[in-house]
């Protein structure tokens, strides 16, 4: 069989969310060498910031635990955190990746004992809570963080706080002299599992995100419902901390809209259906959830879940693209305006809180890549002829299950590249 012979047998996986971890582990469990790089200080990605998964209402960190155990037991995956690719050059089978490593200011002596955090006084917005809560500037990202190692926020470097952190550590783990560095990796194939980010809700002008206090995004709502989150799992409104019992879920916030995201983000309908159950769980029969939708896309056996939510007396559905949201200044309530297209009724509906089912856009930006990694007009990675592959939400808006499938497929495509050597041809 013709074709290039891979000069490097290593697979680089960019992104340590569930897709990247999956791609790395699946390849490694086939016997391949993998370098997994993640830009934040911990693996786990966006799914660790979800309270529950649809449709089983199970907890994302349950799967994370299994994946971390797979990782701990497999020496073929080398993990680099606080690591981002700045440029990739070369061709299928022979790529060179420049990886920028940001300083953690904590080395692998760290035992996660937490003394540095106790010593530090400064607090920063918690990036693992969509900045809704605050944490110490020396922090363990979350209870399931891997590596289980603290990180010092760069904002305290040079301050007394940093010195206090260093003094508190009895294991020589705090290293304030760490500098940003760039390393070069030779790899045969690259899996881009760079995931997604929520569409910038402030750009959807009529919904008032950022202006109206009680308009939040669906990803923020996950944090509000999560007992590990900033409110300890109590669904409270940002304006006054009052219990949010009457919640509006606005579908297609940014998605299916040529002014914003052309595509349907696939997960938002199911995510909102799931979130209505958080409201129900929190407030029982007093809960009121209203889902404003165009089409409910509960595909395949998710239909079962949709039916269950439809049967829930605390949940109602309005077929309508919400036109605009205004705030009742006195109460902080949100008032949704629009037309219920089923029967064509105008409404002005008052709710405690509006949750925008925010669309997914690809997160990969600002990396120099060779032309054998094609993107579509929305920035999702398309199939190409080279040795680089998209996985998970870098390739399409996907739910977790499908992102993992996609990552598993991407792992095989990467294996095909590095296996294209004379010896494997004879298997």
């Amino acid at each position: 069989m013709a074709g290039s012979v891979a000069t490097s047998q290593t697979i680089l996986v960019v992104g340590g969310g569930i897709a990247g971890m999956t791609a790395a582990l699946e390849a490694a469990e086939c016997g391949k060498e993998v370098v997994l790089i993640e830009k934040s200080p911990t693996l786990g990605g966006r799914t660790t910031l979800l309270y529950r998964y649809f449709p089983k209402m199970c907890h994302p960190i349950c799967g994370l635990e299994i994946n971390l155990r797979r990782l701990k037991g497999n020496r073929r995956v080398r993990v680099l955190t606080l690591a981002e690719p700045v440029a990739v050059s070369g061709t299928r089978g022979d790529y060179t990746a420049q990886i920028r490593l940001a300083p953690r200011y904590v080395n692998d002596n760290c035992t996660a004992c937490g003394e540095c955090a106790r010593a530090v006084t400064a607090e920063i917005p918690n990036p693992f809570d969509y900045n809704l809560g605050r944490i110490k500037a020396a922090y363990l990202p979350h209870a399931m963080a891997y590596p289980q190692r603290y990180v010092l926020d760069p904002s305290i470097i040079g301050s007394e706080d940093a010195d206090r952190a260093k003094a508190a550590c009895r294991y020589g783990a705090v290293d304030l002299d760490m500098k940003e560095e760039t390393v070069e990796l030779k790899v045969g194939a690259v899996v881009w599992a760079t995931g997604w980010q929520p569409y910038d809700a402030a750009r959807i002008q009529p919904y008032g995100y950022g202006r109206l206090r009680n308009v939040v995004t669906s990803v923020e709502f996950e944090r509000l419902a999560d007992p590990r989150g900033p409110t300890g799992g109590r669904i409270l409104r940002p304006s006054d901390g009052r219990e949010a019992k009457n919640v509006a879920f606005i579908q297609c916030a940014g998605s299916r809209d040529e002014n914003h995201l052309r595509h349907c983000s696939r997960v938002c309908c199911m995510a909102s259906l799931k979130q209505t159950q958080y409201v129900h769980e929190a407030w029982g029969e007093e809960a009121r959830s209203t889902v404003y939708y165009i089409d409910i896309r509960a595909i395949d056996r998710f239909e079962d879940f949709y039916r269950r939510v439809q049967a829930d007396p605390t949940v109602s559905f309005v077929k309508s693209k919400v036109a605009r949201i205004e705030e009742d200044r006195a109460s902080g309530d949100v008032i949704l305006h629009g037309v219920d297209t089923e029967g064509y009724h105008r409404y002005a509906a008052r709710h405690d809180l509006a949750v925008l089912a925010i669309g997914m856009e690809p997160a990969l930006r600002a990396v120099e890549v060779p032309p054998d990694l094609p993107f579509d007009a929305s920035g999702f990675i398309e199939a190409g002829a080279g040795g680089m592959f998209g996985a998970g939400c870098a390739a399409a808006p996907l739910d977790v299950n499908r992102a993992v499938q996609s990552a598993t497929a991407a792992a095989l495509r990467a294996i095909q590249v590095v296996n294209k050597t004379a010896d494997v041809e004879t298997i």
Binding site: C58, C62, I66, G73, D295, T408, A409, R413, Q416, I427
Partner: protein, 738 residues
């Protein structure tokens, strides 16, 4: 085999040295634990500490290492010694971080730590270094069952990775559903027009590939064996049977369209001008072959108007048709409407739907159809009747909120996908529905001939994070047999399944477990002479890994085994175990605990915690410094299904005041990583009341809990509540009799 030499390493870091007497711990390890070598170290996971252990392994010929430091989930990189048997005593999360710092608590805290060291030593001495399945089989060939898009893709992708493939297709031609299509939904931008199916090229790539052998008109007569050594009898076109030896299997047997004949209200069968989506593809192919417009079947007239009825016999709430959505049909109807519009924009095309479901870039395809003039009407179709010169479609228009009717030359019913999944092995043998089903894999397995089904006949994984999790190790479903899906997804799915098939043969060859204990080199060892042929292990194995021989003795197929230990938990005569996890490794820990006498007012509660969810929850509780009772002793278990009731009775007999079991959720939305382990444990513990009564003990002395990994606050509370309960009912009368 080298002589056993044990060593215990006691870490003093993270405050252990300040709050505990590590001297005392070291003495216990030496005197009671009989460790040959005992060392204390101020920072064991640091380079020096690790180096010390490594030196001892090399120079002192240490074969068994106890690390008494942090949780077994922490510092795994540092404490990685693959050549020795390893045990971890959890002093940090298990004692220090879960006990109050106050001086008056120091006594009980030390007692707890002392016990964990005793338990660690006891476990270590019963543990052997697992060396991998000695019967590892190395056939790396992959069998693909089904020659549609999914099967062709799986075969080609596996072959491209360098693996030999044999593909079996029951029809006399490859191509499956895709070969019946005129065109397919586009995969790439601009997502505007129907695309060529590409099926001829795919078939040519498969048939032309040197590593792929194809059997057409072929079915599987029998599949026996295990990953790395499957032996498959294939009935080929000539009628002969050939044997194919393979290492793993991808089942890509696809779907059958739901029978539109069951939808007389929608006119099917009443007039040939009502067709299903397959029927429309046929008409479109005929038209393309004839070089003209699509004509209606009744009189051959050119179709001037067509109505697409979505969700025909799908999303049915009444229980008579398919309850689910098949996912692809909206896009398929859009594509079919374009067949008409692209040929002649004057043709009226109306799609009647309740929710239009075109996720991702399907939205662009939908937009393109709107631009081409396809009409989309939100409505619910009540009936389709033959009418003069066509069909009359009556429906509720959900926007106008009124009943309306449309006339059309042709009506297309978007019926759903019914998986070709063979026999539902969960049905009783005398169930007439089962008798009507034709097996596909014909597995010579104790637990049935085909893959277990999840829901609605699909053989999908139950796990969101692990879509390829299978209950038949080394056999992976791909495409619409697994879950309703469109062609683009089937391609992706089949590629992923091909990877799993490759992984399965590589794991089997190395003698290691597949997911979720991937890499585990332990495997079940059976003392078959003690077996009473009770068959519990063969019936209860969640993965159907154990067969029976002619004399009804269990036959363990190690490479089918997932190492959960459910068989070990089931075995009433305790002849099943693993090198590093056995009735003895846990039993010895239970017995190693120092049991205070009945006047001490210090109860002892044994907590058997599932290592997948409950144990991490306990660790996280400790990370948050949540305090719980010092009377509990925790032992992690692989799965609650592995808990043998002897542990419970031994514990109670030796004076424990209560036993808590914490496992994953069971029931419909189960969370058990081994499918049935927690459910079986719950069932077994339901029967333990009789034993308790025989012992003269209260039934509260054994309690089973469902615990999620997020139940961080709750685990601590459960322990405290349980200990309070025990203090309320009083200490065990069994103390002192051990």
């Amino acid at each position: 085999m080298a002589e056993t030499k044990t060593a215990a390493y006691i870490c003093q870091g993270c405050g252990i040295g300040e709050r505990l007497s590590t001297r005392q711990l070291a003495q216990i390890a030496q005197k009671e634990g009989k460790m040959a070598l005992v060392r204390e170290h101020p920072f064991l996971c640091g380079a020096e500490g690790v180096g010390l252990i490594r030196d001892d392994i090399e120079r002192e010929a240490v074969t068994h290492v106890l690390i008494a430091a942090c949780s077994r989930r922490a510092k795994t990189e540092a404490f990685h010694f693959p050549t020795v048997a390893l045990a971890r005593a959890n002093l940090r999360e298990g004692v220090l971080w879960s006990q109050p710092e106050a001086d008056e608590a120091a006594g009980l805290t030390q007692e707890m730590a002392n016990d964990y060291v005793r338990m660690g030593c006891a476990e270590l001495k019963k543990t052997k270094l697992p060396l991998g399945n000695p019967l590892a089989a190395t056939n790396r060939r992959i069998l693909v069952v089904g020659g549609g898009v999914s099967g062709l893709t799986a075969a080609l992708e596996a072959a491209r990775a360098g693996y030999q493939v044999v593909l079996v297709e029951k029809e006399r031609a490859l191509g499956g559903w895709a070969a019946k299509l005129h065109k397919r939904v586009p995969f790439r931008e601009p997502h505007a027009d129907p695309a060529d199916t590409g099926i001829e090229q795919l078939i040519a790539q498969v048939t032309g590939h040197p590593r792929i052998r194809v059997h057409l008109g072929a079915t599987l007569l029998e599949t026996r064996g295990a990953p790395g050594r499957f032996s498959v009898q294939v009935s080929v076109e000539s009628g002969a049977a050939v044997t194919e030896e393979v290492g793993s299997i991808v089942q890509a047997t696809g779907f059958t369209l739901y029978d539109a004949g069951k939808l007389p209200a929608l006119g099917y069968g009443k007039t040939p001008d009502v067709v299903d989506q397959a029927g429309l593809e046929r008409l479109a192919r005929q038209a393309a072959a004839a070089g003209g417009a699509i004509r209606r079947p009744s009189d051959g007239a050119e179709v001037g108007s067509v109505v697409f009825v979505q969700c025909a016999g799908q999303r049915d709430e009444g229980g008579s048709h398919l309850p689910y959505c098949s996912g692809h049909c909206c896009a398929t109807s859009i594509k079919q409407a374009m067949y008409f519009k692209d040929a002649n924009p004057e043709v009226d095309t109306v799609v009647i739907y309740t929710d239009l479901r075109v996720p991702g870039s399907g939205e662009d395809f939908y937009r393109s159809a709107q631009r081409k003039g396809v009409t989309f009407t939100k409505g619910r179709v009540a009936s389709v009747e033959p009418a003069s010169g066509g069909c009359k479609v009556s429906f509720r228009d959900l926007i106008l909120d009124e009943d309306v009717a449309l006339e059309a030359d042709l009506v297309v019913l978007a019926t759903g996908q019914v998986p070709n999944s063979g026999v539902n092995i969960e049905l009783a043998d005398d169930d007439p529905a089962k008798a009507a089903q034709v097996p596909i894999l014909n597995l010579a397995y104790r637990q049935g001939k085909d893959m277990p089904q999840l829901k609605h006949g699909f053989t999908d994984s139950h796990f969101i994070c692990f879509p390829y999790e299978t209950r038949r190790t080394g056999i992976y479903a791909a495409g619409p047999v697994r879950r309703p899906m469109d062609m683009a997804q089937a391609v992706e799915d089949a590629t992923g399944a091909a990877l799993k098939a490759i992984q399965a043969v590589e794991n089997a060859a190395a003698g290691r477990a597949a997911h979720p204990r991937s890499g585990d080199l332990s495997y079940p060892i059976v003392r078959i002479e003690g077996c009473t042929q009770c068959k519990r292990c063969t019936v209860e194995c969640p993965f159907g890994a154990i067969d029976e021989d002619e004399s009804r003795f269990p036959v363990f197929n190690e490479s089918r085994c997932r190492r959960c230990g459910t068989c070990m938990g089931a075995c009433p005569v305790r002849v099943i175990g693993f090198e590093n996890y056995s009735v003895d490794t846990v039993g010895a820990q239970i017995k190693a605990v120092d049991m205070p006498d009945e006047f001490s007012e210090k109860p002892r509660v044994l907590l058997l915690a599932c290592e997948n969810d409950a144990y991490p929850a306990l660790d996280m509780a400790a990370l948050q410094r949540r305090v719980y009772s010092a009377f509990v002793r925790v032992i992690p278990v692989r799965c609650l299904g592995s808990v043998n009731t002897i542990w419970i009775t031994d514990a109670l007999n030796s004076g424990y005041d209560g036993v808590m079991l914490m496992g994953c959720k069971h029931g419909e939305d189960y969370q058990c990583h081994f499918v049935k382990g927690s459910e079986l444990a719950n069932y077994r513990m339901g029967k333990i009341d009789d034993t308790l009564k025989q012992l003269g003990l209260e039934t509260e002395r054994v309690a089973t809990y469902e615990v999620a990994i997020t139940d961080v606050a709750r685990v601590a509370r459960l322990i405290d509540d349980y200990v309070a309960k025990i203090l309320e009912i009083g200490l065990s009368p069994m103390k002192g009799f051990a």
